[in-house]
């Protein structure tokens, strides 16, 4: 390994450590849900290792819970993770022509909001894949071991503690959506519409599964927002 790559690996590990710790907590919260749905610690470990996506995994768990057809988990996972298409596309622009092709596969394996964020924040015309690998060294075990721990820990918790911990993931979702909703009126409006329509759908169309509800409302609301309020090129998301 060249000095430059070793340095990038160390930088990635340093910047990835707080992310990995945070992922342990996210993974743990997912584990609480996964246990409720019926996953074993090994299944929780595997789904987290291979997905590394909180919304996507939670969405997948709602499908498993409702015992829906396999097609539904594919469609909902696709919708919940659709934003990674954009991030992966952005990253594709930051690969040097000299970087071997297989690095694209390994970097792609762990595209997450946070790792994408630090990769972009590091700057430079081209990314160094070893920086991503350094971050992945903490992110992947943090997330997957956290999930397995959440599933195991369930057995030692009282009903009151499980009830309290079951909102941790929703708290994290709120922390992701509320600050941009405050800054951007359109995102704010979309969030309010999402809450309201989701509530309406659950109460008036209870026969529609949670997964299908998420797919339909996401396409409807995000589609309407995209058509009515297209994002200007200079402030596109990251």
């Amino acid at each position: 390994m060249t000095t430059e790559n070793r340095q990038a690996l160390a930088d990635g590990f340093r910047d990835g450590t707080p992310i990995g710790l945070g992922y342990f907590v996210v993974g743990f919260s997912l584990g609480i849900v996964a246990k409720y749905v019926g996953l074993s610690p090994l299944q929780g470990f595997v789904i987290s290792l291979l997905n590394n996506a909180s919304a996507g995994e939670y969405a997948a768990l709602t499908v498993i819970k409702s015992d829906a057809p396999y097609f539904e988990i594919a469609l909902l996972t696709f919708i919940a993770n659709a934003r990674y298409i954009l991030m992966s596309t952005v990253l594709s622009q930051k690969f040097s022509p000299d970087t071997p092709f297989y690095h694209r596969i390994f970097v792609g394996f762990d595209v997450t909001d946070e790792i994408f964020g630090i990769t972009i924040a590091r700057g430079g015309r081209y990314l160094n894949p070893f920086y991503n690998y350094g971050a992945m060294l903490t992110a992947l075990p943090g997330w997957s071991i956290g999930t397995a721990c959440g599933i195991v820990a369930w057995n030692f918790f009282s009903e009151a503690a499980v009830s309290a911990l079951s909102v941790a993931l929703y708290g994290m979702f709120l922390a992701v959506i509320i600050p941009p909703a405050r800054k951007d009126k359109i995102i704010g409006g979309a969030v309010v519409a999402s809450f309201f329509l989701s509530w309406l759908a659950e109460n008036f169309f209870p026969e529609i599964s949670a997964g299908n509800r998420t797919i339909a409302l996401t396409i409807l609301i995000a589609g309407a927002a995209a058509i009515l309020f297209p994002v200007k090129e200079d402030d596109n998301d990251s």
């Binding site: 969405a59 996972t77 992966s88 922390a175 927002a225």
Partner: protein, 102 residues
């Protein structure tokens, strides 16, 4: 449960990895269509919002404690609390509220 959890996991993982890896390996140009870009921009917020409510009030032992957690979560996130802090605040609110209610 008539479906196999391992197959669910396999399908979900295959889709996620395809989404993350295929654009990086196949797309060399930039997505120019502004409607698609805008859709992808709004998707995460909408998906997370739809999945959060009303699920949060059904997750807890009482709907009131879940509702209080929602209000506390929105309030603390609005004023800039970190991901971890918001999660802890929501959990604490549920724990305390259920101590008082149940």
């Amino acid at each position: 449960m008539t479906h196999d959890i391992w197959i669910y996991i396999l399908v979900a993982s295959a889709v996620t990895l395809a989404i993350k890896i295929l654009p990086l390996t196949l797309i060399r140009g930039e997505i120019k269509n502004s409607t698609i870009r805008s859709f992808l921009h709004y998707v995460p917020y909408v998906t997370l919002a739809v999945m959060t409510f009303p699920a949060i009030i059904d997750a807890t032992q009482t709907q009131i404690s879940g509702g209080l957690a929602l209000v506390a979560g929105i309030f603390s996130a609005w004023f800039g609390a970190s991901l971890f802090k918001v999660a802890v605040i929501c959990c604490t609110v549920v724990f305390v509220a259920e101590r008082l209610l149940l």
